[in-house]
Symmetry: C2
Subunit: 255 residues, 2 copies
């Protein structure tokens, strides 16, 4: 089995915590950041980046750790440098909806008011940089292009939540899973360019279920179903090969 860009299978919490204390070697300078080209800060030139980097703090979380929790005071916004994160909301009886899977280059926490409106958890080991919300919003004055970039990303995000509403409200289980696979294909293409049809699925079946508004069992059955239809090949639970992504896309759109 080829090496995954996520380390969901081999992550060791203890080692991760040690690294987190150590922090990133480029703590005070974002210049060496490996995710800069896809992050919000990619609009800053070398000079601006130097002063801007003082606003950021770098840290790391092991898989399954909470990054921030729903209803907690929203003091920071977070930018993912590597790894995978899930954002979720819960009903009082434990029913959960995952509102998004986030990867390198994605940020979260800006849309909240005084409290976080979701819980953010590490799916794999993640590297994150964090900014004070107030300060970064103020900094949009000094770095107008950054403000524009953040606004732009927020608009894009709003657009894709509308697609997700169409999925949740109107698609069948099969269409939902096909949509999910297409989404994951697109996201993984942004991060790692190997065979574009070889898609990593860092999250559990239960995460997928809570993202698609289904149960684990239904998700599992639909994986089996798509395999029987000859549309996908499974290599363990966390790696999928899309044998016919055109057909998957058509199914995803209900055609």
């Amino acid at each position: 089995m080829s090496i995954s860009p996520y380390s969901y299978s081999g992550s060791k919490p203890k080692a991760s915590i040690r690294l987190a204390a150590n922090s990133c070697p480029f703590n005070t300078a974002c210049e060496g950041c490996s995710s800069r080209h896809i992050s919000l800060c990619n609009v800053l030139d070398s000079n601006d980046l130097k002063s801007f980097s003082k606003l950021s703090t770098d840290f790391q979380k092991a898989a399954k750790q909470i990054i921030c929790a729903e209803d907690e005071k929203a003091e920071h916004i977070y930018n993912i440098r590597s790894g995978a994160v899930r954002l979720s909301k819960m009903l009082s009886d434990g029913r959960r909806q995952i509102t998004g899977f986030l990867f390198a280059g994605d940020f979260f926490g800006l849309s909240c008011k005084d409290k976080y409106s979701f819980t953010a958890e590490a799916i794999t080991e993640v590297k994150i940089c964090r900014f004070n919300r107030t300060k970064i919003i103020e900094s949009f004055q000094d770095y107008p292009r950054l403000g524009e970039r953040v606004f732009d990303m927020t608009r894009t995000e709003l657009n894709s939540t509308h697609d997700q509403m169409l999925l949740l409200g109107r698609k069948t289980a099969k269409e939902k899973l096909c949509s999910f696979l297409i989404i994951m294909k697109e996201k993984s293409g942004r991060i790692n360019v190997r065979d574009e049809n070889e898609v990593d699925i860092p999250m559990s079946r239960s995460d997928i279920a809570d993202y698609l508004g289904l149960t684990v069992e239904t998700v599992s059955r639909q994986f089996t179903n798509l395999h029987k239809l000859g549309l996908i090949e499974l290599d363990g639970a966390h790696r999928v090969f899309l044998k016919n992504s055109k057909a998957l896309l058509a199914l995803a759109e209900g055609e």
Copy 2:
């Protein structure tokens, strides 16, 4: 039956079209706009408003008219002055998801890229002012408070789509309808302060169904159900009296 703030029952298309040609008496000045206090332009002072108003065009649409269509070139952003609008997305086979109901003070069209990602239709007769997208985005330079306001409203909107995802993915039909009634109560309170428990429902059962990811029949059954439970009183299909909004809220949250 008391008079509704929407004119969904008595609207006459012909008359509306005539009015639309006539446009608003305050066409070149937003000063007299009755929805200014709740609209995005409420951050502008009297001077700025005068020059800003030159960017806007006023018009009116009768109920059931399309304001802008999915996949159409996105040239404008729209601000609702009065009436109710629905935004929706469709699958190729006609399945529809309504992503939002909009009222006086709401705007739409900003989150789109080159094409509109939704169709906007008038539910009731609506008064709307329209801005050129490019020009208004440029104008954020001159009116920074306007840019902040729009950004802020976009963030709020993103937050509420997350709530809607939780609703669509994880709530039961009963919980969905209770949530809808609570949402409508809050929105109508913003526009018209009468008895806060007397809620106008300008949209059809079919619109509600497509908003909640249900069928018309299920929506109708749940209305009947809530009535039997003594939680609501119906005065026709478009006016609801919430007899116990606390209980409705609890049901909406799955408690």
